[in-house]
């Protein structure tokens, strides 16, 4: 086993590690620990009964299911946006590039109100859609739209620098060696982008799972239909049932952690595979 402190050419290992740990503890670990501690006010049976009730399970499936679907859409759309922004020069490119960041900066409540105004049955997009019999605002579809909106910059901003660093010469070399266009994409470009794409996907997904502000205005918030888990937490708090609220939060946290952990493993695997396929070609 390697010694804990290997001598490094850079000084200050102890100091930086200490600061990192202190900082992470104050900002993340202690609040999380207090969350878990609050949950222990419930007995194990109470905890299980609380988080496996029909309504809680439904809210969790809405939050996780729709967040996952929205992150998938963002993955596909985000990669396309990145491709256009990085590989082509067109008028207004910088403006489009800046627009991508708007969901980052916009207060989520503003996003929610704007989206629900747009997609309500009297809104610009909602009215024509309603004629086709598609209701968006105040249905689960509205949640989906809001989650796509807040997630898109995560995919774009993580994939963009990687694609920008990917030399076009690599693709030229591949095609001069006889690779078809499709092979260039699947064998050269995608393997190098996959780790970044997965990171973007994980970030967009994580953000959407916990999203409250923008979703709440467009969701409809009907129990067992369009109620997201964060809203149920707020409802539990209104009932002064803090422990039950934290119980839902703990389940969300653990599930989200497991999913993100799994994505990280896939990412690691994709990274090594990417390197291998390079060395073969």
């Amino acid at each position: 086993m390697a010694p804990l402190t290997r001598r490094s050419v850079l000084p200050g290992f102890g100091l930086t590690l200490g600061l990192t740990l202190a900082w992470l503890s104050i900002l993340i670990l202690i609040p999380l620990a207090s969350l878990f501690l609050k949950t222990t006010e419930l007995s194990l049976q109470e905890f299980i009964a609380s988080v496996t009730s029909h309504r809680v399970l439904h809210a969790l499936s809405v939050s996780f299911g729709i967040a996952f679907a929205a992150a998938l859409v963002n993955l596909a759309a985000g990669v396309l946006v990145v491709w256009a922004l990085v590989r082509y020069r067109f008028p207004g490119r910088r403006i489009f590039d800046a627009i991508v960041d708007i969901p980052f900066a916009l207060p989520t409540a503003v996003a929610g109100i704007a989206l629900s105004a747009l997609f309500a049955q009297n809104g610009w997009l909602g009215a024509p859609l309603a004629k086709l019999g598609i209701k968006v605002a105040f249905t689960p579809l509205g949640i989906f739209i809001a989650m796509i909106f807040i997630g898109i910059p995560f995919v774009v901003r993580t994939v963009q620098p990687v694609l920008a660093d990917l030399e076009p010469e690599l693709e030229e070399a591949a095609s001069s060696l006889g690779a078809r266009r499709w092979q260039v994409i699947t064998r050269v470009i995608l393997p190098s982008l996959t780790p970044a794409i997965l990171t973007g996907f994980a970030l967009a997904f994580a953000r959407a799972v916990g999203e409250y502000g923008s979703v709440i205005f467009i969701a409809g918030n009907l129990p067992n239909v369009s109620e997201i888990a964060p809203l149920l937490i707020v409802i539990r708090l209104s009932e002064f049932r803090y422990a039950d609220a934290t119980a839902i939060a703990v389940v969300m946290l653990v599930v989200a952690f497991l999913i993100i952990f799994a994505i990280n493993r896939i990412q690691r695997w994709a990274q090594t595979r990417g390197v291998v396929s390079y060395s073969v070609t």
Binding site: A117, Q121, F138, N224, I235, L237, S238, E239
Partner: protein, 329 residues
Amino acid sequence: MIRRTLLALAGVLIAGAAHAADNTLLNVSYDPTRELYVDFNKAFAAAYQKETGKTVEIKQSHGGSGSQSRAVRDGLQADVVTLALAYDIDAIASKGILKTDWQKSLPQNSSPYTSTIVFLVRKGNPKGIKDWDDLIKPGVSVITPNPKTSGGARWNYLAAWGYALKKYGSEDKTRDFVGKLFKNVPVLDTGARGSTVTFVERGVGDVLLAWENEAHLAIKEFGKDKFEIVVPSVSILAEPPVAVVDSVVDKKGTRAVAEAYLKYWYKPESQEIAARNFYRPRDPEVAKKYAANFAKVDLFTIDDVFGGWTKAQKEHFADGGVFDQIYKN
């Protein structure tokens, strides 16, 4: 909501730092009282200065009644609370921050103004909504906030319940009636203002169950050519209570001014402020003067029908209560 708490806390910090006036009070209130307290605070500050020669500055914090109550419970330093329903102040009292019989310290259940629940419909009343019975008809879409998160919504729910109980006499039929009503609700917003926006701006729903003052405000804001108020045959007497937060005023030494502030509500000129903001005044003289503003409606109280807030809260809005059972199937 956390953000709201933080904002309120920040407000308190700024208030502490600035300290321009001789006295500073923080009034933690609920959603639709913004306009009311702007008027009332101005009148009180002037009256207080005239009487004592001291200035007073009143900070306001607004939000859903339940979350405001929780903020005070969790340590927001409010001198006075003016919330939507007594249960939300009871919840603070149960923490020992103010005395449990707070509701006896001022006249009329410590509710200097009252309100009720009415219907707001679209111009011309296209669905012909006249009374509570029309709300459970198929094809009628009703907008109300979620009683779990909104004080106003609890009054809506209890008003419907009280009507049905009076009409059918049996608990089962009443439950059935309220269940049918909520089947007609397409959106449950978290607060009263949210529901007003959904109905007025998004064009969702045929009828909005609203505070009387909120309904009048919507008409004032958006015009008589867009909406009408329909007053049902029976509704609930909503008594939004006010209270001094004992532990805070004793610590800050603001008890005298905080009590003067709330007592000022019972002066005729303050009662007029309430009436002008479409809250029903308690003072009979003022009530007579503004009688044209308030439709005659048969009002029952929560004590008559439900045996008080604590009982109503437990039976209807607690986890697994009647409201949750409505959404079970």
